[in-house]
Symmetry: C2
Subunit: 210 residues, 2 copies
């Protein structure tokens, strides 16, 4: 029986409490060993039918980074246009991506057409392949935070355009654009809460009964 100590469980809760979506990165590089350590967490994630549908693209070239940043800026402008008054002013003042600072940037795709797993578990819910990729990202995020690395998930982006700009296959769906690096500061409170956009529910997740 592989047991985990109460100390470990306490630290795991602390890890989850201190995990943040980071948008402010120091320019210091992330060495490859640290990144590989986090990437190892992908292979430990659950995936539907053992399909392991995650596909990872390291966005390194000036051209690819510029395309991703332009994509974010256009999507962010469109999103801003959807708010009025105080909410628009507040939105305009938020920093919603660390794409100009983060030393490592990964585009994470789901291969919707993989034959691995032979479709098991994905007949009635084909979205399970994308959910498997999200589960792997969460493993990665926690492994990164345990090393002191910050991760920011950018979703203000046109996923089809990014896939095309990166020349990825049509059957790949963008799940996340991740910014990774050493955070400028560590926070217990999400920045969206500090800045007054939204607050977390202080209560335990409610259980309805049926």
């Amino acid at each position: 029986m592989t047991q985990f100590s109460q100390d470990f469980r306490n630290d795991l809760a602390k890890l989850m409490k201190w995990r943040r979506d980071v948008r402010h990165f120091r320019p210091d590089p992330v060495d490859r060993a640290a990144l590989d350590h986090c990437l190892a967490a992908f292979a430990l994630a659950p995936s539907v039918g053992l399909s392991e549908p995650w596909r990872l693209v390291n966005v390194v070239s000036d051209r690819a980074r510029a395309a991703a940043l332009a994509n974010f800026r256009a999507a962010n402008e469109r999103a801003l246009a959807g708010y009025d008054g105080d909410k628009a002013r507040l939105y305009a003042g938020l920093k919603l991506s660390g794409m100009q600072d983060a030393p490592v940037q990964l585009a994470i795709f789901c291969d919707e057409a993989t034959s691995k797993g032979a479709g098991l578990g994905a007949q009635t819910m084909p979205e399970m392949r994308r959910y498997s990729v999200v589960a792997a990202i969460m493993n990665f995020w926690l492994a990164a935070r345990a090393q002191g690395l910050g991760v920011g998930w950018v979703s203000i982006i046109d996923p089809v355009r990014l896939r095309d700009d990166l020349d990825m296959p049509a059957e790949w769906a963008l799940v996340a654009y991740l910014c990774i690096g050493w955070p400028v500061e560590e926070m217990l409170t999400p920045e969206l809460e500090t800045k007054g956009w939204e607050r977390r529910d202080p209560k335990l997740a409610q259980l309805l009964e049926r």
Copy 2:
């Protein structure tokens, strides 16, 4: 700076290695304190715009459990019909849910219509709300495993039918049906691999470059 020790990081990797999708549960009950400890991990998950769109239903009544089990069986029969020969025989021999044994069963939904978060981050990728729910499930899964609890994610299910059978609102999307309890045995290798359905890739997740 909130640092985590090398011992903790090693144990975190061990936790991820020993996390399995469990389909064989002992009949022993799960006490409410243990369940609440795991549910606390939901509130620590990232969510797009702090929308916290997870909605949790504890499936307890005979009627609700019977509806969920019938749903699974029908979907599983349809899935089996899609395989031929050896693959069909192999599929038919797999145990793909612990719904007849698991003492706790949760239907996890995403409220697609929540106004919380005011749509931030979900304009170009509205699927981010469902991805937030998956991220929370992954937190929950790891917290459960750290206590020795097993979690099994059933996706061989008609999500719309289950939502209707449980009388949940039309704007809620089923993300997962989770079986939770004390596992009969602990395994380092996924059951789908042991039974010969599919194997995990032994390599580190590859990084394409762009």
